[in-house]
Structure formats: structure tokens, C-alpha cells
């Protein structure tokens, strides 16, 4: 069983499976609206420590979110 890690800890080029969205309220809703839903596989395009945003490839779409939001997403590295 692979451990769930937080999305903000991954490096560019990493692919992962979304396990859970910990954010609630408006942040959680918006992340899910953008296609970040448990069961979806995404790729990290850009992620540098302390520099926002984190850029992700979600079903052929590039989306950018904050580190603080990426921390709220639990994933399994593929």
C-alpha cells in the first residue's frame, strides 16, 4: 500500500492519483470545479518551493493553484 502524500510535495514531471480533497467550503468547491476530484490522475508541471503557483495538468488543461491549496490535496505518487 502506497502512502498518501500532499500534492505540494511533488516535483515537476510527477504523476499522481488524487485520493482526497481536504479543503472545505469555497476552496474545496473551486478545486473540484476545476476537475481536481478523487480518482483523477494529474501531472505536476511546475512546482518550486515557496514560489506560487503550482501548475498542474488536469485532463489536458493546465491549471494553477497555490501551495496552500495543493497542501490540502492528498495524492498517491504513480
Amino acid at each position: 500500500m502506497t502512502d498518501t502524500v500532499r500534492l505540494n510535495t511533488l516535483k515537476p514531471g510527477d504523476k499522481c492519483l488524487i485520493i482526497e480533497i481536504k479543503a472545505t467550503g469555497i476552496t474545496g468547491q473551486r478545486l473540484m470545479d476545476l476537475g481536481l476530484i478523487p480518482g483523477v490522475v494529474i501531472e505536476v508541471v511546475r512546482n518550486a518551493p515557496l514560489v506560487d503557483p503550482v501548475q498542474l495538468l488536469v485532463r489536458d488543461n493546465h491549471i494553477s493553484i497555490r501551495h496552500s491549496e495543493a497542501r490540502e490535496i492528498g495524492v498517491i505518487l504513480l
Partner: protein
């Protein structure tokens, strides 16, 4: 003669305003970034002897009550009850756009779906089974390329047909899985005798309550049914 009121809804950057302009012949300000339309804009068109009033709602990713745009769009649909809601979908981004489509279907207003930007979808080699989608959703689905004015007559016909069949609201029901479906049914039954719920579709209310929607929860604060 009464005007047929059509609310134009869609996610940011789905080409909603371009489509609105195609139908009404207006030159509304359109910019290539999301969040341009912040207030309600109204345009009119005539088709086959019928008068239509189109209301361009703010672009929203979903129909919750978190942002001002979402509240404006949702309150218009709930309070004004337009004759038709026209859901503008970016065909090149179907999966993400369907989130809003499902939420609109749950509001049980007669609906037409526009698959806009079909050219972008084609160049991304996306093929969409338009008839299959229409059957699954239970509403008319019309492909368009609003930027080039393609699909206008087909869309107007779909609006007219839907208006004339307004009695048959879609019987679309999203499957939330066994656990949530059960909770929704229980909640729906509890709401059936509640006066405060009478102006709304019960299934929609139940879904919004379980999602923790603040505005909907406010309807029921004070006592539990």
C-alpha cells in the same frame, strides 16, 4: 404577446457572451479572460414570430452560493424562473463543463445545452456523440461555433421546441452512489411536508443541504423539520 425568457448560463470562457451576441446581434464587450461578465445583461431576438428575451448570466464554474457571481446567477434561476436555461458548454472541455450542466439540470428548469467551440474540439481531435449526450441528459443538445455564427438556426429551433414542450421537465437524476442516494431520499421525504421547501425542487434542496450550502441552509434555520 409574451416574451420567452432565456437565461444564458455557462462556465467562464465557454464563449457565452459570444453566443449571446450571435443570437441578439449585440456587440457586447467580450474579452479573452474569465470573469468579464459581472452584471446581468439583457438582449432580444425574434424568431419565427416569437419574441425572446435573453439574459446573460455571469460565468460560473458551479451553482453553489460561495461567490457573488454564483449567487446572482442562481438567484435569477430560482426566483425569476426563466422559461428556458441555455447552458453554454465549451465542447473542447466537456468533462469539466458538465459539472455545471448537472447542477443546472437538477434545478429542473427546461433546458437546452449548446456545445460551443466545436471547432476547438475538432482541432483537439475530440469527437462528441451529440445524440448520445442529448439522450443521457434528456435535453436538446446543439453544436455551435458562435464566433463564426454557425448553428444559430438549429439553436433557435431547439429553444422554440423546448419552450413548446415546457411541461416535460427533464427527468435527469444524477447517481450519487448508494450511500448518498439513500440519504438524499430520506431528506427529500422529510422536506416533502415542509412549507419552506414548497417553492423548490425537493431533490435539488436535498443535494444542496447535504453539500452544506449556506444560502439553502438559511431557509431552514430555526427549527428542524
Amino acid at each position: 404577446m409574451t416574451e420567452i425568457v432565456v437565461a444564458v448560463a455557462g462556465q467562464p470562457n465557454s464563449g457565452k457572451s459570444t453566443l449571446f451576441n450571435m443570437l441578439t446581434g449585440m456587440r457586447q464587450f467580450v474579452a479573452n479572460y474569465p470573469g468579464v461578465t459581472v452584471e446581468k445583461r439583457v438582449g432580444r431576438m425574434n424568431y419565427k414570430g416569437y419574441k425572446f428575451m435573453l439574459v446573460d448570466l455571469p460565468g460560473t464554474y458551479s451553482m453553489t452560493s460561495y461567490s457573488l457571481e454564483e449567487r446572482i446567477a442562481r438567484n435569477f434561476l430560482l426566483k425569476e424562473r426563466p422559461d428556458i436555461v441555455l447552458d453554454v458548454v465549451d465542447a473542447s472541455n466537456l468533462e469539466r463543463n458538465l459539472v455545471l450542466t448537472f447542477q443546472l439540470l437538477e434545478m429542473k428548469i427546461p433546458m437546452v445545452v449548446v456545445l460551443n467551440m466545436m471547432d476547438a474540439a475538432e482541432s483537439a481531435r475530440i469527437k462528441i456523440d451529440v445524440n448520445g449526450l442529448s439522450e443521457e441528459l434528456g435535453v436538446k443538445v446543439v453544436p455551435t461555433m458562435a464566433k463564426r455564427g454557425v448553428g444559430k438556426a438549429e439553436l433557435c429551433d431547439a429553444l422554440l421546441d423546448t419552450y413548446q414542450l415546457a411541461g416535460d421537465i427533464n427527468d435527469f437524476r444524477l447517481d450519487y452512489g448508494p450511500q448518498l442516494n439513500r440519504s438524499l431520499n430520506v431528506l427529500q421525504e422529510a422536506l416533502a411536508d415542509d412549507e419552506r421547501a414548497s417553492a423548490y425542487d425537493l431533490r435539488w434542496l436535498a443535494v444542496r443541504l447535504i453539500a452544506g450550502d449556506e444560502e439553502v441552509s438559511k431557509l431552514f434555520t430555526g427549527s428542524l423539520a
